[in-house]
Symmetry: C2
Subunit: 327 residues, 2 copies
């Protein structure tokens, strides 16, 4: 592999000059530039990214910390990030966390290891200690679908989304709405519960606590949650599930009981995954791609002076009406 010294020698100039040509510095005469360019061409030279990073103290890449990246949400956010990163010629370093301790090691390392210029954290909750470490290490971070008071955050208004879904069902005349929520250890679940209750109270009705259950966000969670309600004797006329997968799981269970959707049971999901459209599932759509793109945009824009923090940017989800609510 040719180095910058080889190029300099071949072109009969100093290394500084070669560097200047490479970095579009104006202080180079046209003739010299030409000679250097020729040498570069002949040697098929390309600067060594790592060496350059060491000298400039910029890696030209951003890290993305995501939990299991199967989920549709992450993929879409990632797509948004990637589009922006590519446009600005930044690489993407993927930190996937599957287990809890992975998250810890990553968070401890990333700010000091300096393999990336900035970090986008998706969904994962950041503790104060880590947040402080990022600030101390001057490593710009931006949270997507997660919130921390001293870090810039991009969040979706979960309460609003839940309210939209619930209002939609109430508006259709349903009064006994089951709520298949996610586990309460997630902030999203707590917010959605608020939205659910708010919609109810605004309509002058009371939600039935016997119709609320908390499960994992996946399909089997939905199935089990629905089964649990069913065995308990609950017979709602509609369901609001905290994820499309849960909704699908619930539908599967209902099918075994001969309950038809939407004839016998209206159902609203959350996420608008690919399958939702296919199954005609009414759901809440979150601006995932947009959030990813904006996160990258803000991170890259703010790389020089670390991004300031002026409260989270809140995105509003929207209701997507399909057949599963009988419209």
């Amino acid at each position: 592999m040719a180095t910058i010294y080889d190029v300099a020698k071949k072109a009969g100039v100093g290394v500084g000059t070669v560097s200047r040509v490479l970095n579009a510095n104006v202080h180079v005469s046209p003739q010299t530039r030409e000679r250097v360019l020729l040498a570069i061409e002949e040697l098929d030279y390309q600067p060594h990214a790592v060496a350059r990073s060491l000298a400039t103290r910029r890696t030209n890449s951003i890290g993305v910390l995501v939990p299991f990246f199967t989920r549709h949400f992450f993929i879409e956010v990632l797509r948004g990030i990637q589009d922006v990163a590519h446009r600005t010629d930044q690489g993407i370093f993927l930190y996937n966390v599957q287990k809890h301790d992975q998250k810890e090691t990553y968070l401890a390392r990333i700010p000091v290891e300096r393999r990336v210029d900035g970090l986008i954290v998706i969904t994962l909750r950041i503790r104060d200690g880590h947040a402080a470490k990022f600030q101390k290490g001057k490593l710009p971070v931006i949270l997507v679908d997660s919130y921390h008071p001293i870090l810039p955050s991009l969040v979706v208004d979960n309460a609003y989304g839940a309210k939209l879904a619930t209002e939609h069902l109430l508006g259709l005349g349903h009064q006994k709405i089951a709520f298949l929520n996610g586990l309460m250890r997630y902030h999203a679940s707590r917010a959605r519960k608020d939205g659910f209750e708010e919609a109810y109270s605004q309509s002058g009705l009371q939600p039935d606590p016997k119709l609320v259950v908390e499960t994992e966000f996946d399909r089997s969670g939905g199935k089990q949650g629905m089964a649990f309600l069913w065995e308990r004797g609950a017979r709602p006329t509609a369901i609001f599930a905290a994820s499309d997968l849960q909704a699908i799981g619930a539908i599967e269970f209902l099918k075994t009981k001969g309950v038809r959707v939407p004839e016998d049971m209206a159902i609203v999901g959350y996420d608008d995954i690919e399958m939702a459209e296919l199954l005609g599932l009414t759901t809440i759509r979150q601006p995932m791609y947009t959030m990813g793109a904006e996160a990258a945009e803000r991170l890259l824009g703010g790389l020089e002076p670390p991004p300031t923090t002026e409260g989270p940017r809140v995105y509003r989800p929207e209701l997507v009406i399909r057949e599963s609510t009988g419209c």
Copy 2:
């Protein structure tokens, strides 16, 4: 940020000694080691990844070049890669190609830029020029779901998969099987066509060329392909689609014509995406996770001496029988 010099000064030793402690070199006395460790602790020191990379000429990260990474296939392969990479403490650098020229720039840069120690290319076809460049640059590459004679490759036996699917349908008594293939510019499509024809000829029958159509691998491709066949007057009793999405698209079209699956029409997809199980779609499953894991394993194992090339490793897909073929 503390550097190795700070640590050395604080511990009252030379930088070499600190480095030895960090890299588990045995030539350090227990007392010194202790002192160094203490200094590291106090300064909250962590080696600078980029500087280390420059000195060792290893980046401890591998690149993954994938086309649009929405697709299930890529995600699964990526999961396999990630698991192995994490286990061996390697980072993953993501190169996502959305447009053709992106692929070109990436392929031109990656081997010389040296931001990664090795590269896994998923699905994308590599031209001879690039292959040669990788060899010249001594950058280990491994192809997944793609083949090149001078590069180690992990491929799925597409002909076999198509044969499995076709045989399944023939075995159920279907004689007029429509084949919604992918575009012939993909190697996979050509191989699947072979498998389709082989199954037919082994059963002593002839496929009807009027029942074969080539479309994009996505849902609208399937829909359009099916519509095209339908308008042409084709009335098959079964369909083999080259992707689950195409199968789903076809089903959607058939629904508009009042054709029921599986009662009026049996259908087999390809890929076994999440939705396939849900919809009860009989399909061909490819060992995606395994391929990703094995690719990473081989790449990392072979990093020192660049991987040899002894013909592609061929994986056999399997038939997953569900309701869409009426079983």
